[in-house]
């Protein structure tokens, strides 16, 4: 009989913080029978695992933990180890750096405004997730990657399939369909290469990139594009939803934000990512026996670092269960990970969430939840509300 309380597949509560705190207090590095894995719940422990990429491999999939490494072409970015990971990441950093993303700010602001226009045109009630947050994230990914209009639907569908996949303990039905999507993206790569593409979008850059005079394998590039698109679409959408729910459940903090939206958006985004970020946990596989905070993790143990627990560790954050937009250390959160796999989309994500939430509160007076968001997507990897129904005051006529 285990005392571990975190049971994300079978009994994931809408508010998991008390369970995670109990597990952390009892033992921050502990076997979790429901996960069939070691769970790490302290800030120091999570950081230690994420930085020890030599001991903790990322190649056993990032959606659910496999018994064998992924086929090589699917070992991309978050699911790759060095030196393969290094080679791929170097292709991305220039396109996704803070300065490059800052140049996209006019796009982000204009998009948020247009999407709020659409909400206003449709009435005074809307689902924040599907009518707004998802459209914000899909449009940013399409803009950055240069996804052709006719393919946008299929990228969106693919992100949905990957979201559904992480609810399960294994792949179940979607693996074949996701593989089919990689094959179709590989076709896109071939076409882009054949046309000698000249666009400055990321897909074209990835298609034409060379290392030592060789282009990358088209299936590897396709898998990389698939992962970037799916991760970018899902996580940012969830981050926007989680932050708005946090603000609505803390009216004092929301009112403080409303009084100075321009000055406080960055801080609000950081605290939102700390308090209830979209990444609940990340999978690793221990390759050779390692120590984490003095506790042994055995070779071949599956390991889940519970980022959400780390972000509520009282050793690092004072009164961690409080949502407080005036924290000076909120940006220390581990929602973007740590070490070599630090989220390559972090700059874009912060900008997307900030511009989207600012536009919403600036333009929709009396914005409020219609009924509490209360259903969480199951599984250990994400924090995400299925539906967030909202309304606002109609404009005075």
């Amino acid at each position: 009989m285990s005392d571990v309380r975190f049971r994300p597949y079978t009994a994931k509560p809408a508010q998991p913080w008390a369970d995670l705190a109990a597990d952390r207090n009892r033992c921050p590095v502990a076997h979790n029978p429901e996960l069939g894995a070691v769970q790490v719940t302290s800030y120091a422990g999570v950081k230690e695992v994420l930085r020890d990429h030599g001991s903790f491999s990322s190649t056993y999939s990032n959606l659910w933990p496999l018994d064998a490494p992924l086929p090589e072409y699917k070992q991309v970015l978050g699911a790759a180890d060095p030196p393969r990971h290094t080679r791929q990441r170097k292709l991305l950093v220039r396109a996704m750096s803070a300065s490059k993303v800052a140049a996209m700010r006019p796009f982000s602001e204009k998009l948020a405004d247009q999407l709020v226009d659409d909400i206003i045109a449709a009435g005074t009630r809307f689902d924040l997730i599907n009518s707004y947050a998802r459209r914000v994230s899909e449009s940013h990914v399409a803009e950055l990657l240069g996804i052709p209009d006719e393919d946008r639907e299929s990228f969106s569908h693919m992100a949905k399939l990957m979201e559904l996949s992480v609810e399960e303990r294994e792949s179940h039905g979607f693996s074949a369909e996701l593989d089919g999507i990689i094959a179709r993206i590989a076709d896109l790569v071939r076409r882009r290469r054949a046309s000698g593409g000249t666009g400055d979008d990321l897909i074209t850059q990835l298609c034409l990139a060379e290392v030592d005079g060789d282009q990358f394998d088209e299936n590897e590039i396709a898998a990389l594009i698939q992962l970037l698109a799916a991760a970018g679409i899902s996580t940012t959408q969830q981050a926007i939803g989680n932050l708005v729910v946090a603000l609505e459940r803390h009216p004092g903090q929301r009112d403080a934000y409303l009084a100075d939206i321009d000055g406080l958006t960055e801080a609000v985004v950081d605290e939102g990512l700390r308090y209830d970020g979209p990444v609940m946990g990340l999978w690793r596989r221990c390759l050779a026996s390692a120590e984490v905070q003095g506790t042994e993790v055995r070779a071949m143990d599956k390991t889940l670092v519970v980022v959400a627990a780390a972000n509520h560790d009282p050793e690092v954050f004072a009164d961690p269960e409080e949502f407080r937009i005036d924290r000076e250390d909120a940006a220390q959160h581990l929602t973007f990970g740590a070490g070599i796999h630090l989220c390559v989309g972090m700059n874009l994500a912060r900008q997307e969430v900030g511009t989207a939430v600012a536009a919403l509160y600036r333009r929709l007076p009396g914005l409020r939840l219609v009924k509490g968001a209360d259903e969480q997507i199951p599984g250990p990897l994400v924090r995400s509300w299925r539906v967030i129904e909202m309304e606002y005051d109609p404009p005075a006529s």
Binding site: R89, K90, R94, S97, G339, M346
Partner: protein
């Protein structure tokens, strides 16, 4: 041998890894990292600078032998 440490601010995204690994060589300001000194003279500092460069998730840090950079001297 003196080594030149540089941070490419087009790439740096202010994650602070370098300042954590080598606080005497890097400081954080304005959401960017800044080398405290452009050159490192001591072998242990050079080693530390290399570790910071290897650990930077944005590949923003370069450490090079100053003789490679005469145009910058």
């Amino acid at each position: 041998m003196a080594n030149v440490v540089k941070v490419d601010h087009d790439l740096c995204s202010g994650t602070g890894h370098c300042a954590e690994i080598a606080p005497k060589l890097f400081s954080m300001s304005d959401r960017r990292a800044w080398p405290e000194e452009r050159t490192t003279e001591q072998a242990e500092d050079t080693e530390l600078a290399h570790r910071a460069a290897d650990g930077c998730p944005w590949f923003a840090i370069s450490v090079s032998d100053s003789t490679d950079n005469e145009e910058n001297q």
